[in-house]
């Protein structure tokens, strides 16, 4: 059993399971939207004094913070007890495209060149980690949701605004990948 679940999970297993998590969250009285915890963290940090947007009772969102922080434990369990020894089955064309940008494929989840603490001191690493994070945090709140809140919860509820947001996600992602990556890397 452990051997089977230690293999990478195909999309048709992962997708319905993510939907199941969304369902169970609704059933226990929550909802599925990760990025709103970033706002909660601002409020806990005292941002309510500077902008009314953060002036709310953060205790009402503690359940979501517990959910999101527990994903760290999930990641730890998966990588330490359920990991597959095989390299990630990335498509050869992606490997070639990245190689043309001097980004190595190491068989793991992410390039080591910009996913270590020392990477923060390099321009590429700073861009990926700090600028990337900032854009995600700013964009998701402006759009009112991220992949979980819009692409999954919103589309599952047939919301047109979520469809617009997802189109935006892809416009931004394609601009970054095809226009900006050659300049950054």
């Amino acid at each position: 059993m452990i051997e089977i679940i230690s293999q990478p999970w195909p999309w048709y297993v992962a997708g319905p399971m993510i939907a199941l998590v969304m369902f169970l969250l609704l059933l226990v009285g929550g909802n599925f939207g990760v990025s709103s915890t970033l706002r909660t963290l601002c409020t806990i940090g005292g941002a309510g004094k500077h902008a009314s947007f953060f002036d709310f009772d953060y205790k009402s969102q503690m359940w979501n913070l517990v959910f999101v922080l527990s994903a760290i434990i999930g990641g730890y369990i998966a990588t330490n007890y359920l990991s597959s020894p095989d390299p990630l089955a990335l498509s050869q064309s992606t490997i070639d495209d990245l190689s043309a940008l001097n980004i190595e494929f190491n068989g793991g989840f992410a390039p080591t060149a910009f996913f270590e603490w020392e990477s923060l001191l390099t321009i590429r690493g700073f861009a990926v980690l700090v600028v990337g994070g900032f854009l995600v945090g700013f964009g998701t709140r402006w759009a009112g949701g991220c992949t979980s809140g819009h692409a999954i919860s919103g589309l599952s509820n047939l919301q047109i605004p979520s469809l617009i947001a997802v189109v935006g996600f892809f416009i931004g992602g394609l601009i970054m990948t095809f226009l900006l990556f050659p300049l950054i890397f």
């Binding site: 679940i5 195909p10 297993v13 992962a14 997708g15 399971m17 199941l20 998590v21 969304m22 059933l27 226990v28 009285g29 970033l38 963290l41 601002c42 940090g45 902008a51 979501n64 959910f67 527990s70 994903a71 999930g74 990641g75 730890y76 369990i77 998966a78 990588t79 495209d97 990245l98 494929f105 989840f109 992410a110 390039p111 923060l120 980690l129 990337g132 994070g133 854009l135 995600v136 945090g137 700013f138 998701t140 709140r141 402006w142 759009a143 992949t147 979980s148 589309l155 047939l158 919301q159 605004p161 979520s162 617009i164 947001a165 189109v167 935006g168 996600f169 931004g172 992602g173 990948t177």
Partner: protein, 137 residues
């Protein structure tokens, strides 16, 4: 104790994110380059299952375990905020290779530098909060 169910669901979520490889920077690049069906399969089958689940909740008027009605809010109508915010989000998603769920999951996977990514994302959310009244919605 009332939080333990959220803790268990979060652990399950982190395991799914890791085992389906959607936390991988490489997989996100592969998606934006349209070079594999994997990410589209994950998101697509999540939404397909999700649509059925939400319809069942609504039609059967399911209740939460504490007996309250399950409240699924409609999004406010609008275009500018969803498109502009979405584009900024997409730029960051392709660059960092992680949306918020994977950011947390990656820390558990040993990529502890994602603490910085999350702090940066919190700062981005804070900046939005300060500029909110000046931005079109």
């Amino acid at each position: 104790m009332k939080y333990i169910k959220y803790c268990l669901l979060g652990i399950l979520f982190g395991i799914i994110m890791t085992k389906s490889e959607v936390i991988s920077w490489y997989r996100i690049q592969e998606m934006f380059r349209f070079q594999s069906f994997h990410m589209y399969g994950v998101i697509g089958s999540t939404v397909a299952t999700g649509i059925i689940i939400i319809q069942l909740i609504k039609r059967l008027q399911l209740k939460t375990i504490s007996g309250d009605a399950i409240d699924i809010k409609d999004k406010n109508s609008g275009v500018v905020r969803y498109l502009a915010g979405g584009i900024l989000f997409g730029l960051g998603w392709a660059l960092s290779g992680a949306c918020p769920g994977p950011m947390f999951t990656l820390i558990g996977n040993g990529y502890t530098v994602f603490i910085v990514v999350i702090l940066s994302a919190v700062l981005g959310t804070y900046a939005y909060g300060l500029l909110r009244d000046k931005l079109p919605h």
